[in-house]
Amino acid sequence: MKKRLIGAAIVITVVAASLAGCAPAGSGSGDGASAAKPYIALISKGFKHQFWQAVKQGAEQAAAEFNVTVTFEGAEEEGNVDQQIQLLQTTLDKHPDALGFAAIDSQAAGPLMDQAKQDGIPVIAFDSGVDSDVPVTTASTDNLAAAAEAAKHMADLIGHEGKIALVIHDQTSITGVQRRDGFVDYMKKNEPNITIVDIQYSGDPLVATDLAKAIITANPDLKGLYGSNEGAAIGIVHAVQELGITGKLTVVGFDSGKDQIDAINSGLMAGAITQNPVGIGYETVKAAVAIINGKTVAKTIDTGFFWYDKTNITDPKIAAVLYQ
């Protein structure tokens, strides 16, 4: 869901930022600055959504800690490949000491990835990563492990037996597939008495509502439902409300947003997995610093995730990574 929720009004900020960034690159003062302080440029898929703001916050936290200069820019909309490629081009022209990159379209970014390699700019992929062998490492949520964690909690909550069903936000995207497979594989391996009776797909809250209602109707003995992102989880929450069966079903969600937070506080939803966007930003910059200093880093960096429920939702560590 966050993929689509990305801001539309960033264009001014982004254009202004990239224009402002362009000028010193031409005059060479960009290089002057990097002599004093390493310069790490982050190009994200989006910018305005709270998820990306949290990534930025983590990046800035690391920048302060390791005494480096970090810039954070993203496409106006997550689907806007052209704009991101232009941003990437402009950024490479500034010759940063390292580049953090979350590709909207890895194929489209291919030539520029090669250029970064030729120019000797190390690339650190983050969030959903870059499908290319140029990046030295990838800092992202391990969605398989996160979904397995959701499955583990679901199993505990329903007493390790019974029927459950899944509403997955997308059938083809990497996050959709991994958040499904991580959950399903965990159940297959560890919970012989739990049956997954149905897996349906939609991240559109309205569609997901009707879909979840149909699943619940068709399986009167259903014990649990898992929604793999904000939209899918909202759908389940509203389906349960419309059918008036609050409390009869164990609902486990993913990501955050007001509806899920309210549902957890009211007891309709048992809990959810949240990614750690702050960690994504932090680990990306940390890895960049390590590479600049000539250290080797692991091929993948798990930026972590948290299970949150009624008991820890106000915990500052959790509250910091949740968005309304």
Binding site: L5, E77, A218
Partner: protein, 327 residues
């Protein structure tokens, strides 16, 4: 003179259209019986109400679009336009603090405004309806994101807003008010299409625009009116969608326009204009909703669900063509 020819033509087209309606109704009954046998849960009252609830938003979009398609036009902006109207309801009620009734009427009129702009683009500037409304689809999708700041808007100051869709009409049965509104709109639009000058001119423009203009009808103005009128349905659908989720969700809505258009076409309304009916559209909406629900209840994998719905649309349009050749 013009009125009588127009009336006669619409009568003939209505008669022809009724065959398609019978076919559509028969298919609906067949599909219904099939799923009743295939799943013991399909006929549960909760599920039947669920089908109607699921049909409400797309069905209302389809009702408005029927008028547009009968004029020989098309409106691709209804899905995202509906999302924008939902966001505007959020802006009026939550950001600007309007009273509930004003915010709801404002959002509905905003839908009319979107339709008005479509109508002007098509009628005055002569853009093809497909292009004009395709542009509007992108504009409304973008504006919904810009205005909402890409985040859902919650109706904190007007908690009653969610009752518009969800309030139960029958105590204990969870029969939502939104479905009641859908049914009222069916009757109202059937009357407007069948009994008023709006409907007569819509058929007339769709069958022969030039002749209609020659007979003294201000075709431009009537087209603008019909697009604006259909826009009101987009506004109503937006209010109901937002009410159902008790929040205005700025994403989503994509593809709804095609579902609504599919419902209209399955119901026997010709994409070339001049022919169609509200009864057909209602049956078409129900076919789409029953199929989707039935396939879900019987746990058919989702990839196959699209295949089945797509095939039904192809068959419906093919039958329509056969009938046209025969006529």
């Amino acid at each position: 003179m013009s009125t009588t020819t127009v009336q006669r033509r619409s009568l003939v087209t209505n008669l022809r259209g009724s065959l398609q309606q019978v076919l559509a109704a028969a298919s609906l009954i067949l599909i219904f019986i099939f799923f009743s046998i295939a799943s013991p849960y399909f006929l549960l009252p909760a599920n039947l109400i669920g089908i109607l609830t699921a049909a409400t938003v797309t069905g209302i979009l389809a009702l408005g679009t029927t008028f547009v398609i009968i004029t020989g036009g098309i409106d691709l902006s209804i899905g995202t336009g509906m999302v924008l109207c939902a966001v505007m309801a959020g802006v009026f009620l939550t950001y600007w603090g309007w009273p509930l009734w004003a915010g709801v009427i404002g959002a509905i009129l905003f839908g009319g405004l979107i339709g008005f702009v479509n109508g002007v683009a098509i009628s005055v500037f002569g853009l093809p309806p497909f292009i004009a409304t395709l542009g509007m689809m992108l504009v409304t999708a973008g504006l919904a994101l810009v205005i909402s700041g890409t985040k859902p808007i919650y109706f904190k100051s007007t908690p009653d807003f969610q009752n518009i869709m969800n309030l139960s009409l029958i105590p204990g049965a969870r029969f939502p008010l939104g479905v009641g509104i859908f049914i009222v709109l069916m009757v109202v639009s059937a009357l407007i299409l069948g009994r008023t000058i709006v409907g007569r001119y819509a058929f007339s423009i769709g069958s022969n625009e030039a002749a209609t203009a020659l007979s003294g009808v201000n075709v431009r103005r009537w087209k603008i009116f019909i697009y604006s009128f259909a826009g009101l349905f987009v506004g109503i659908a937006g209010v109901l969608a937002a009410s159902r989720l008790s929040s205005a969700q700025p994403t989503g809505g994509q593809g709804l326009e095609l579902q609504a258009i599919a419902a209209v076409v399955i119901g026997g309304t010709s994409l070339q204009g001049g022919r169609g009916s509200i009864v057909g559209t209602v049956i078409g909406s129900l076919i789409v909703a029953v199929l989707t629900n039935g396939l879900r209840v019987t746990a058919v994998p989702q990839e196959w669900q699209s295949v089945v719905v797509g095939c039904v649309i192809l068959v419906a349009v093919y039958l329509d063509m056969l009938r046209r050749k025969g006529a």
